[in-house]
Symmetry: C2
Subunit: 138 residues, 2 copies
DNA sequence: ATCTCTGCAAATGGTTTGCATGAGA
DNA sequence: TCTCATGCAAACCATTTGCAGAGAT
């Protein structure tokens, strides 16, 4: 729990039952749910929530900068509530498990000026891929 | 030109007019086309090529390891023919322009063992984001 | 009271698939 | 010849949108 709801309230975000449930479902560490998974968990707590509302709310949280969209693997986008603290991702190539990681050093400095093509670089996304302990054991 | 076709022929890849055109369209440096763009350029050279064939062929090139799929931004996947030489991407946040870049040092070493959660890490994808010179000027 | 969020359902965009035909090795 | 790639169209999946009504501030 990293108090996503508290932060949202502090920003004067309009609160409704649906929006609260989406934020609750999303809050935590190492959480990377798809929109569909968010809908499923939200429906469990509040049956009268609709798919469109989940998408609307996710989109809003993303544009508020409170949730980050990961377009990592094939199909559906995943939503990561840890947008306020920069981190990277470690993904299992077999089962798709995802962990948040914090590399040492500033990844931006790894790109030499000669390789910047005149871009003003201000962010970097890093995804490490490998096999998780559970899959390695099996 | 990095001779994608030559490599494919060398691997005994079944050659047809359609497959050759897709490979030709894709070959080069800093090429990151969507399936739709590949179809458009392929159609210009060979009108009787179909969308399904483009998708089939792209999928096959990806599973052969000759082309890499980038799931970077929002909508459509992009296809990168430089899969044989590891590199990262530099993307313009405004216009979406993409360049291939080659950071110094091994990016894999940037992830401390204590942050690996027991994973056997074997690859890393890096996307730098910033504003390209053209957009900065405007 | 006002402003907007919500639900429904239909539309959209990207990608995949089934099947009969036709071309490669 | 025998296999497999192709084309067409329909299916699919994730996501977006229009609209009328309910709900929050």
């Amino acid at each position: 729990m990293s108090d996503l709801l508290g932060r949202l309230r502090g920003r004067g975000w309009r609160m409704t039952a649906q929006r609260r449930v989406v934020a609750e479902v999303l809050d935590g560490e190492h959480v990377h749910l798809t929109a569909d998974e968010v809908l499923a968990r939200a429906t469990a707590r509040l049956p009268e929530i609709s798919r469109a509302t989940v998408y609307n709310t996710l989109g809003e949280l993303v544009s508020l900068g409170e949730v980050a969209e990961m377009s990592t693997d094939g199909r559906a986008k995943r939503y990561d509530p840890n947008a306020h603290r920069p981190h990277h991702h470690l993904v299992c190539s077999r089962c798709g498990a995802i962990r948040d990681v914090h590399p040492e050093g500033d990844p931006l400095t790894a790109l030499p000026a000669a390789e910047r093509y005149g871009f003003a670089v201000d962010a970097v996304e890093v995804t490490y891929r490998g096999v998780c302990p559970d899959c390695a054991r099996a």
